[in-house]
Every structure is written in C-alpha cells, then in structure tokens.
C-alpha cells in the first residue's frame, strides 16, 4: 500500500468516524419534548411581561393605521403613560391598561449593549417616537391624497392602499419592524441571554440551591431565561409549550421566524431556536451553566440570522418591484426592509461577543434609503450593495435570502 493510499484510507476512516459522532450532548441533561418545567408540581415557566409588551406593540401598530387616532393616543400606547408621566389607559384590553409595563422602557434597553450607552439608547427610543408622531402629522392629513415624490399619501400595492410619507416610507412598518430589533431581539440576545443578567447578583448560588424568588415557583435565573423565550414564543397567539405548531402568532419576531422557516434555504431554523431555548432551560435546571451558555450562543446566532435574512429579502424584493415600476409594492417591501435594517443594530455576533453592526453602519444604510426623495429615488445598485454588505457578515448568500 503506497503512502498516498494509506493517507487517503486514513482520511476516509476519519471522515466516517467524525460523521458518525453525535452532537455534543452531555448525557446527564435531557432535552424535554416541550417547554414545560415544574418544581413541586408547579410550573416554573413565566413570561407575562413579554406577552404584555408584544400585545401593546400590536395595539400600537394597528392604531397607527386608524386615522381617528391622535398623536397622544399613540404616544401613550408606546410609553403606557401620559405626557406628564401619569398612568394612562390607552389600550383596548383592560389587562394591558392595568399593566405597569411599557414598550418604550424596553426599547434599546439591554444590559450588554445599552446600560453604558444611554445616549444611543435615548436616540433609538426617540427615533421610534418620531416615526409615530410623523404618522399623525405627515400621513394622516394626506389620507385622501395620491402619494408623489415629496408628498405623503396613498399608493396602490396590488389592490390595496398603502399610506406612505413623502419618501415612500410607511411609518407603521418602520415602527413595527424596528421594534422587532429594538425590543424583542435586543432584550432577548443582549439582555436575558447574557451572563450579566443570567448570573447577576446571587443568581448562580440561588439557582444551585434552588432558592426561588419570593412567592414564585422559579429561581431568578430560570425566570430570566423564560423572559428571553417570551419575546419569541410568548405572544398571546402562541402555544408556548409547543410553539412550532403556532408560528406566526404575533406580528413581531415570531412571525418573521415563520417567514424564514418557510424559505426552503433555511427550513429547520425555528426548530433549532426552540430546541436551544428548551435545552438551555433544562441546563439551568441541571445547574450546568456551560451547556446553558452554549445554547444561548446558538440562539444568538440563529435569531441574528433571521433578522439579517429578512433585511436582505426585503431589499431584494423591493428592488425587483421597483425595476418593474411597481412603486406601491416596492415601497411596501422597502418599508419593511427599513425596519429590519434598523433592527440590524441589535444583532449579536457570538464569535466576537459584540454587535454585528455598529451605530454608524446602520445609520449609513438608513441614510442611503432615505436620501432625497427616498424610495422614489433609490436605485438597484444601492439596494444590491447594501444586501451584499449585510449578507457578507453571515453564512447565507443574497440569493438564498432573496426568495
């Protein structure tokens, strides 16, 4: 047997061996079938605050298309308090009105990214607020105008009417899709799944000793993890214990997880995220924090990918529509794309333990989209360059994301 043959044979054997090895699963932690965890017969799973915020966001984005709504109504839905800081009751749901939570307080408010970066946090909160106000000031008065470059109004997307600003942007889409990053993704990846929050104070000792929070069935660490879970699988419309059966149950992160899952290039991503959330939670119960953190990294990678894929998807869809002179459809795609691009700021690169996109990089994308008359002017080359720049940081291609 020649040296070459020996080498090839050895490579083959190695190949066979490595491909037969299973995933790196410590045998002592079992990944349960559903997201159900109990202590002394009582469920320890809790994410009511996340469910509330998702519902508040839902009411806000719907109200942005109700032309009867006033600026202060919308701002109260954003901050759940009056302009003077008093308790407000802006929602149609009584339970939400009773809640002391709010959307705004958790926008760009993660421990990892914004606790020492309050200047940017304040700017992001204000950006979203400015779009809410502009909807009332710029778009509502032009309800019965045809949109044109520089003029807010209606534009046809298929047989439906979309309402855009003078640059072709639908502010309701900007708010909806930007919240996915600024609220859901930021809280999930940069707050609750980070060790700064999971291991804060005596969380590790308490979890090791199963010291539950006052009057609750869960330890602090368990609860933090559930709060991450709640932002993706905890909407009203979701069956949290088996959430893969109810994907698309809200208008935020959950819905776009479904969209990416439905793209044959990425099928399986929803299950990857769910499995990691479940397994990480089981690891907390088993007090194995290395396994927990490995799962957190998987979740950060995959959720970041979901947002980046959708950003590229909408840029490419918008490009095709504009090339066909279908401005209404193109503007709608780019309005959604605008929000997903804004959301890029909150994605988490686990290789470098940092943000994938800095503040300036995202601002420059947004500037390119909103230059001059915005979507009326933007050209295919710009949309392609942006798509490539986004995809280059991930393992997917523009072509895979585009359909």
């Amino acid at each position: 047997m020649s040296k070459t043959y020996q080498f090839l044979l050895l490579s083959l054997i190695l190949l066979l061996i490595t491909s037969c090895e299973g995933p790196d699963t410590p045998i002592n932690i079992e990944n349960p079938v559903s997201y159900e965890f109990v202590r002394n017969g009582e469920s320890t799973v809790s994410f009511g605050g996340q469910t509330d915020r998702i519902s508040m966001g839902q009411e806000l984005i719907e109200a942005m298309l109700n032309f009867e709504t006033t600026e202060s109504d919308l701002l109260e839905m954003y901050s759940n308090q009056t302009a003077s800081g008093d308790d407000a009751n802006p929602y149609s749901s009584a339970a939400l009105n009773e809640s002391t939570k709010s959307v705004k307080s958790k926008v760009a408010a993660s421990e990892d990214f914004f606790s020492s970066n309050t200047v940017e946090s304040a700017k992001i909160k204000a950006d979203i607020e400015s779009w809410i106000i502009a909807q009332v000031i710029e778009v509502f008065p032009n309800q019965n105008q045809l949109a044109a470059p520089g003029i807010a109004g209606q534009i046809a997307d298929g047989s439906s009417a979309r309402y855009v600003n003078g640059q072709g942007l639908e502010y309701n889409q900007a708010v909806n899709k930007s919240l996915i990053g600024a609220l859901m993704v930021d809280q999930m990846l940069n707050n609750y799944l980070g060790t700064a929050v999971l291991d804060a104070a005596d969380n590790i000792i308490n979890n090791d000793e199963e010291m539950v929070e006052d009057g609750q069935a869960y330890t602090s660490m368990e609860h933090k993890w559930d709060e991450a879970f709640g932002y993706i699988f905890g909407g009203e419309g979701n069956d949290y214990s088996n959430p893969l059966t109810t994907l698309g149950g809200d208008s935020f992160l959950n819905k776009y997880l479904l969209r990416v899952e439905d793209d044959a290039d990425f099928t399986g991503i929803a299950s990857d995220i769910f499995e990691a959330l479940k397994f990480g939670r089981a690891a907390i119960v088993a007090k194995d924090y290395d396994v927990r953190d490995a799962q957190a990294d998987i979740i950060k990678d995959k959720v970041s990918e979901v947002i980046a894929i959708r950003a590229v998807y909408y840029l490419q869809q918008g490009k095709i529509a504009l090339e066909n002179n279908d401005f209404g459809a193109g503007f709608h795609d780019l309005s959604e794309g605008f929000g997903f691009i804004y959301s890029l700021r909150f994605l988490r690169d686990t290789n470098n333990n940092s943000a994938y996109f800095g503040e300036e990089e995202v601002s420059s994308f947004i500037d390119q989209l909103t230059n001059g008359n915005g979507f009326w002017d933007v050209d295919s080359a710009t949309l392609d360059q942006m798509s490539e720049a986004i995809a280059a940081k991930f393992e997917f291609t523009v072509a895979q994301a585009a359909n």
Binding site: M1, Y5, L8, L9, S11, L12, L15, Q143, N144, L146, Q154, I155, A156, D157, G158, S159, S160, A161, R162, S251, K255, R259, Q317, I320, E323, N324, N325, G328, A329, E336, N403
Partner: protein
Amino acid sequence: MLKKVYFILLTVILIASCVETPGEGTSMLTDNFDRKEMLEFWAEEIILPAFSNYQDYLTSLSDQATVFYSDPSLNSLESFRSSWLEAYLAWQEVSMFEIGKAEEIGLRNFTNIYPADPELIFDNINSGNNFNLDLPSNFPAQGFPALDYLLFGSADTDLNIIDVINTPETMEYVVTLIDRLNTLTSEVQSDWELSFKDEFINNSGSSGTASTDKMVNDFLFYYEKFLRAAKVGMPAGVFSGNIETNLVEGKYSGVYSKQLLQRGFSSVQDFFNGVSFDGQATGNSLSQYLTDIHISNNTDFDFSESINVQWDVATESISDLQDNFQNQIIEDNNKMLTVYDELNKAVRILKVDMMQALNIQVDFVDADGD
C-alpha cells in the same frame, strides 16, 4: 482487493461532492421559435380586437344608462343590467392584458376589485362631488362591482332599486363610473394603436424586459391571482379555511358568477392556444411555442398537451357548478374546491415546466400578506 474497494469508494465520495448541478432556470434547449411573429399575432389578432370589442360594449353601457335615466322603468333597468353584463363579460377577455398603458394606470384595479364597498359608495355619492376615484382606497367604490351593487343590490326589490339609483346624486355617480370605465379603456386602446403596438412587437428578444417575457408573466399572474384565486379559491376559503360568500365575483346579481369565470377561463385557453379573437384563425402562441421546443429538442413531454389536458379536466369541473357561486359554496363547497384543485394543477406546469422550456423567469412572487 479491500484496498481497491476503499479507493473506489473514496473516489466516488469525492467525485459526488464535486459534481455541480446545473443552475436553475438556465435552459440548454434549442429555441428557433419566431417570437416576433407570435407577438404580432397576439397584438393584432387577440389583444387589439379584444379591447375594441370591450370598448364597444362600454359604449353601449353608456347608451343604456342614458336610456334608463331618460325613462326609468323595470324594462329599461333590465336593458341597463344586460348591457352591464355584456360589458363585464367583455372585460374578462382583456383583463389578463395588464401590460403597457393598462399596467401603467392600473386598469384592473379601477375596473374589477371586489367585493364592492357599499358604505364607501354612498359616502362618495353623498359627499357633494368631493371624492377622488384615482385613490387606491376608492378601488372598491368603482368599476363593475360597484355597478353590480347599485344595479342589483342597493335595495330589496327592483322597484326600490330604481328609487335608489334614480336620485340626482346617485345618477351622477353611476354615470361617472361608466364614463370612467370608458375613458380609461380608450386611453389604453389608443395607446396600443398609436405607439405601444409597434413597441410591443419589436421588443421581441428574450430578457426580463422583452415583450414575450413580460406578457407571459402577466398572463400567468392573471391566471394565478385573478382567475384561480380571486374567482374560485378565495370564495371557497382555500386560503382562509372558511367559505367567503362576500368574495364571490358579481355577488349582488348572483347568477352570473359562473359565466364570468367561464369567459375568463376560455379567454385564457384561447390566448394560450393562439385562437384569434374572432375565433376564425389560429396563430403562433404559447402552445405552438412549447410544441416547437419539444420537437426541436426531442424532449420527453410536449407541455402544451399536458396543460390542455389539465384544462379540459378543469373545464369539466366548472360545468358541474351552479350559476350562482354563493349558493354553490354554501350548498356544496367541495365542488368549488375541486375546481380550484384542477385549475391549480395547471399552475405547476405553467409556472415551472413552461417557464423553463421557454427560458422565461417568473418576475412576480407571492406577497407575504402583510
């Protein structure tokens, strides 16, 4: 010996992982078909005659409105309604040609968006002429569906309908709607005659912006969205899971929904098979194109045959339906679902097999619905 087996195995693995699969959508087929001749036939023998026929029926619709308003009676209402139906049927023969000026102005949106919105219609009527029919939000307040509502559904009896539509404001609105259909259509028609026809025929290449590629996409889009989905699938609840009587085309007149579908579907088949508008001649169209590709490349299938065979099955299933689709979906929705299934089976052949054979890229995507 064993060594040899390993080596072969290894080689196979390595080769298998290196073989490139051909990229999708790149046709290797020989194509000698004369696209220009096909475009000429489409324009001169199908599209222009269909628009001119439609325009004639719109003119008589205007005339019948005048007759009705000069002497409102059960008789003149009857004639008014039949000329509405004739024009609506003639529309089914041009709806798929949303290209050129029709595409630019969005002719279909202003002509046949249903269900109509009665509340919006009356808001407009009572607004003291303060409405803008160019607005997308007014799509459901105009065109044939709005007239369907006003002429057939605006009151419980025919005599009461006459009372409703015979007020000065309503009369003005009805006349405005009919005038608008006339104006938009003549704009499209004269654009074809003055300039677009030559542009359409001469743009005979093969690229995303060439006439054939665009027209085939428009044809497919019409078939998928406006025939299969809007006329059949949506009322039958294919997408929502519940039957939606409100979404039936011509829901206020009721009994014409089947006729409208049949006219639309036969126009689709005639266009595909190159049957001239007057039915007297056959020319080159998609069917001939597919057969040509099949013969010159000696491929396994002639897709024009598979499509026509499938459409015959669909035609048969449509003939099983009642005239009134609202009754049909309430009484036996399975028959409606069957029609959808049969129409849908052709989508795959059209959208995948035909498009690949003709080397045309699909230029539209399913909107994600939000």
